[in-house]
Symmetry: C2
Subunit: 375 residues, 2 copies
Amino acid sequence: MEFTIKRNSFFEELSKTSKIIDYKSINPILNCVLVELTNDKLVLISTNGTLSIKCVLNNDNSHLEVKQTGRFLIKSKHILEILKRLDDDLITVIMVENNEIKIKTTKTEFNLNILDADDYPLIGFREKGIELNIDAQEIKRTINQTIISINEWNKKIVLTGMNFKIKDKKLLISATDMFRISQKTIPLKLQENEDINITIPFKSILDLNKIIENTKQLKILINENYATFILDNTIFQSNLIDGQFPNVEGAFPQEFKTAITVNSKTILKTLNRADLPTDDNLSSIINMKIQQNKIFFRSTITDIGTFEEEFDNFTSEKIEDLNINFNTRFLIEAIRSFDDEMVELKFVNNVKPVVINKKGSEDLKQVVLPTYITN
Amino acid sequence: MEFTIKRNSFFEELSKTSKIIDYKSINPILNCVLVELTNDKLVLISTNGTLSIKCVLNNDNSHLEVKQTGRFLIKSKHILEILKRLDDDLITVIMVENNEIKIKTTKTEFNLNILDADDYPLIGFREKGIELNIDAQEIKRTINQTIISINEWNKKIVLTGMNFKIKDKKLLISATDMFRISQKTIPLKLQENEDINITIPFKSILDLNKIIENTKQLKILINENYATFILDNTIFQSNLIDGQFPNVEGAFPQEFKTAITVNSKTILKTLNRADLPTDDNLSSIINMKIQQNKIFFRSTITDIGTFEEEFDNFTSEKIEDLNINFNTRFLIEAIRSFDDEMVELKFVNNVKPVVINKKGSEDLKQVVLPTYITN
């Protein structure tokens, strides 16, 4: 086996395949990347059980020149460090023995141990299914905005994932831990309403977010057991979580008695004061007393003391006196997902959830249940 | 007790005093900062046993207004978080009960638990001794350049410190672990040669470096048991290490058979390729074969493989064939201390240390012993 390739491209695609590797895996084979060289392309494959990834390098995208085909298995960590530290634009990789490759540039040579490619599990990548074409950057933003409501350690397994559902030719992406809900609506160009309701594991969502980087276009292929994400020269395939994801829309209140509008940065400053980092790292509970022109915030911070603040930097469409308590951190994370924008907080009473959205847009909804615990 | 103060100044000086605190201390009192308010100044004191610090705030440097004097003890971590998150320029601190203070701004109030100031140890700050006046930024740079040769866990206690010695009206700052030596010479404006030869503990040196920040002028006062560093409104006092620091100058070779000049960045790139991060985090051993126009570098990296490189990007005044081995990381750290400069590497033979200095200047010398271990 022998090939020459652009160092940067090889480094970048190897990094991508490495990102999903679970280094805690007890099987050393799964800490490796499979490198397969055919006549016209170099394929890199890795997997962590839940998730597999395949990157394709060729002459067009990475100046690949194949001298002799072949395949090997390598610990990506070391080869990445080497590629990072070399200077030349092009590198040559030669298999010198069954268990050794040589990486060559003009003046530098590394001899590296490799493993036997035959020991690697066979991974099938499905490239068929219902097809959705979406702006990759929009998906990345959506993941960041909604992942806050997933509790990775939830005992209800279906809630450890992010739900993708088609409704009225729109894609609804939802996450919930039963104390809060995050939901984003993305319009799609669909001919007909596809029947899609799948839940993707938390870890796959995290990794997908890392892989997207600056990619513009994302194709999602959905079939019975897998979701396949295609980005440029990368195929990313995840298992799905079985089970019925709760119908979260049912939990959204529709009629509100109080609606206040506030700049997200302003209210976040107040909430951050109410939730100082403590040794036990638990969130404080914040008490909000809403009156006509003022909100009184109050919290007790374990082992530290108490916080009180008078807040009047808001406008309201309608307002009724209300005394309500929240997990401060849930409220912070929900409001922070809106960046520096005017947000609307809509309340019914002190036991119904608050609904938060950008003023004038309901594309993204954050819903947080009040808590019954008081200070 | 009651005072008003500029929030930023109070935050900065509290941060300084907090930096030296050893949070692993089993005595909770030592995790606190002592706050003492007299008629015209606010004094903050903390200690970690080896090292004590005192910062003085007054009306000039921090808009201090004293309403009622007093003192208390507080866990700095929490109050720092609060000060960071407030918006107002000025804050008011009031002792409301024996065990509680209130921090007030226009709309926000925090009530915080405090401890009894009488429980804090009495710390004396010596402001007498032999006086040296030095550029604080030069000391900071010197610490960064020489601290590399200290092994904090050295069994020979005197080597766990940095040595300050006056010789020929110059200050020599030295560090060694017996495998390498770092020495910097700083000219002083002295009337006569003072008899100074003290060793300051590693931890104090680290903390001094953090405290200096952007301060310009540093006054050092040396007496029998302490070194006191005075920076603006901060006094920083360290214990000294007993024992005779080795006469490191005696280990410097004077006559060389080979002297090569190389850009530090260029040779660092090669050395970094020879020392990839491994699981055991031990440095590789680098073999250098020096010939008339070329150096051949070679290393074996545990569990990864081998490295070889031909290097010709250097000039030489005189050169003899030499085959010599070094701990790669020692060589990297020594050369890195020169930033992006032309450095000179001077060799005698394969058992005598290499001396490294900036081309044309011997203010900073890095000396590294070869190793007898070969690949």
